[in-house]
């Protein structure tokens, strides 16, 4: 009986939407008329991290805040601002967290060094194998 009541109550329940009642911003889902500008905006949006869906870029995210950030990026690109300046403006506010583009900061050094270290380790292993075979 109780489970039936709970099921009925769940049927009547409305999903709690944490979204606003406003439509997406004008440039959130609309391409810029100039293909060059749109390409620059796209490239930048692919490398900016969504603050809501933190694993996605703002180009991929459906979050409203990501839409508002796309609107911001497209407006500024259309106004002639270089992508690097827009990225720097956002990094100033949110830190390097906001950008997917790896930096040369010490925290990112392992990322740059890892391929070289792995390549060196591989070469070392191959050299040892060849020497062992030669001896056998």
């Amino acid at each position: 009986m109780r489970s039936v009541l709970i099921s009925l109550a769940l049927l009547a329940a409305q999903p709690l939407l944490a979204d606003s009642n406003l439509p997406p911003a004008y440039w959130a889902n609309r391409q810029l008329p100039d293909p060059g500008e749109e390409a620059r905006a796209q490239a930048l949006m692919q490398e900016l991290r969504c603050l809501v869906c933190q694993g996605q870029s703002i180009a991929d995210s459906d979050a409203e805040l990501a839409g508002d950030m796309r609107d911001l990026v497209r407006r500024r690109i259309a106004a002639g601002e270089p992508p690097a300046a827009i990225r720097a403006w956002l990094v100033e506010r949110y830190g390097t967290w906001i950008s997917y583009k790896p930096t040369a900061e010490p925290a990112a050094w392992p990322l740059w060094l890892a391929p070289l270290a792995l390549l060196a380790a591989g070469l070392f292993l191959i050299r040892r194998r060849i020497r062992m075979k030669a001896r056998a």
């Binding site: 606003s20 009642n21 406003l22 809501v52 956002l90 830190g95």
Partner: protein, 175 residues
């Protein structure tokens, strides 16, 4: 030598397990804090969210005494509970201004009528542009701005009853 190497996979496995257990025990903080703490407010001028209540611009925030700028929205559920705490702060003489994010005037008016109105001024940020300029990543968030218009503290999430002494302390420090 070869014996020791046999145990290498086991050692790697143990390392992975230790790393996983450590991450489970101390989850990552997914809050993104604004880097503007200690810096002047970005320049903005927002239209009034619910006329005739005054609009909000950055130049009007350097009033000589610390104030709270609360980022909220009528569609934000935690904001409902936060308003009561903001009312308490207002009763203690704390000046509070609001920024309504992605909101319609009628929705903000209904929100204030239902939950109370602690705000002196409310700006309407329809495209979240001022929210982004402040380095804020969601609603609700609050910024303590000192008398010279410098951001002194960012509070992510609702200010709850237990946070009141801490907030009053931060306001005192910003004097």
């Amino acid at each position: 030598m070869t014996r020791a190497i046999r145990f290498a996979p086991l050692a790697v496995l143990l390392l992975v397990i230790v790393a996983l257990v450590w991450r489970l025990a101390t989850p990552v903080d997914t809050n993104v804090s604004s880097k503007l703490e200690g810096r002047p407010l970005p320049v903005f001028a927002l239209p009034a969210a619910v006329p005739p209540k005054p609009a909000l611009s950055s130049t009007e925030l350097a009033t000589g005494q610390p104030r709270i700028v609360n980022i909220f929205a009528s569609w934000c559920v935690p904001c409902i509970g936060e308003v009561k705490v903001l009312q308490q702060l207002k009763a203690r003489g704390v000046p509070i201004d609001g920024i309504a994010v992605r909101d319609r005037p009628e929705d903000v008016a209904a929100f204030l009528a239902n939950n109370g109105d602690p705000y002196e001024r409310i700006g309407s940020d329809v495209r979240s542009q001022v929210q982004i300029a402040l380095g804020s990543s969601g609603v609700p968030e609050s910024f303590i701005v000192d008398g010279r218009g410098v951001i002194r503290y960012q509070h992510i999430g609702p200010i709850e009853g237990g946070d009141v002494p801490m907030i009053l302390n931060k306001l005192e420090q910003s004097r």
